[in-house]
Amino acid sequence: MSHEFQRLAREHGGKIYSYALHTLRCREDAEDVTQEVLIRLWKHRETIDPERVHGWVMTVARNLVIDASRRRRMRRSLFADGTDGTEVDIPAQETGPVADSAERDELRSLLEAAVAELEEPYRSIVVMREIQDFSYNEIAEAMEMPLGTVKVYLHRARRRLRDRVRREFDHAV
């Protein structure tokens, strides 16, 4: 069992965690979501169509992310400043050139904030497509949406992100 579980976890754990971390921006919640999806995947592994495991995993992850967001809103209701004390910065990539790091970090911070401001399903689609490099078909399956709808949402989301970055840079100038 252990070997089989580890294989499933290796295959799917990373994309679940990354998706949850980038959409929730809370390490603890992302860990909870990842753990729960892996447990459910294990429980249902024999009934999931092998051709659709990726979509199944990401659909469950997305639903749990939405649940976690709702719980966070509930927790936030206790705090006047709108935080729940659990949000954390996602650590920067540890590899890559250090040149232009200030500008890169600035853009990264700006984009993180801009992505966080997107509503669902825009945020999930942007994370899956741009950060996780999913294909349009994979996103459509995970989001349970027609392909064309995914493209429309992504187009709108990208435009919003561009507008946000442009506004910020124009403001800085």
Partner: protein, 210 residues
């Protein structure tokens, strides 16, 4: 049908920037890709727009994909190794204080129950002045802890606890009880202020706290 270059305007290009940057996935015909490039080469506004879009995409694609922490995999593996407990889902008609049945004997739960019990059975409401400061902060802290812990507990046991149940039986109950029976309708604002000032927000269950 040959490509009609007269259709190429700034608006036409703007609509196709994403598809252009998506490469083969974007679905643009070669003639359309060439048209975008040609137009951008002679139109500074569109060139800026394409550059901005490319910059945003490059920025997003540079976001890291983090590996799953080993502790998460270990916890999941432990969870699947243990047979799930069979626990009945709470019936909607239950008393609001049945929530205590769900909670394990933890500090968070004990504190919550104690707070609620005090509220219920205290012969006289505690004066507000006695409940200011540290007491209020503790109530807030334990409420947040218990909520978080209950989420984990429910997940580990397989018990069904929906957001509505959490709100109705935990957060709502504690807030309403304390507010109405102890704090004379004034708990929520000082509770929130105390939490803000305390800096003791922590969502780990008690046994995991350092």
């Amino acid at each position: 049908m040959p490509f009609d270059a007269s259709r190429v305007t700034c608006a036409w290009v703007e609509e196709r920037i994403d598809a252009f940057l998506d490469g083969d996935d974007g679905g643009l015909a070669h003639a359309e890709r060439d048209a975008v490039e040609t137009h951008a080469a002679t139109c500074p506004a569109c060139a800026r727009e394409v550059a901005m879009a490319a910059r945003v995409l490059a920025g997003l694609r540079a976001f890291p994909n983090h590996p799953v922490p080993a502790s998460v995999l270990a916890a999941a593996e432990r969870a699947i190794a243990e047979p799930p407990r069979i626990v009945a889902a709470p019936a909607p008609a239950r008393s609001r204080f049945r929530i205590v049945d769900w909670l394990p004997a933890t500090l968070a739960a004990a504190a919550l129950v104690a707070l609620v019990a005090t509220a219920r059975w205290s012969p006289a409401p505690t004066p507000r002045a006695d409940l200011a400061g540290a007491g209020v902060a503790e109530a807030a802290r334990e409420t947040v802890l218990a909520l978080s812990y209950l989420n984990r507990y429910a997940r580990m046991t397989g018990e069904i606890v929906t957001d509505e149940i959490l709100e109705k039986h935990l957060v709502g109950t504690v807030e309403r009880t304390l507010d109405n029976e102890v704090f004379d309708g004034s708990i929520v604002p000082p509770l929130r202020r105390a939490v803000e000032k305390s800096g003791i927000v922590e969502t780990k269950p008690p046994h995991e706290r350092s």
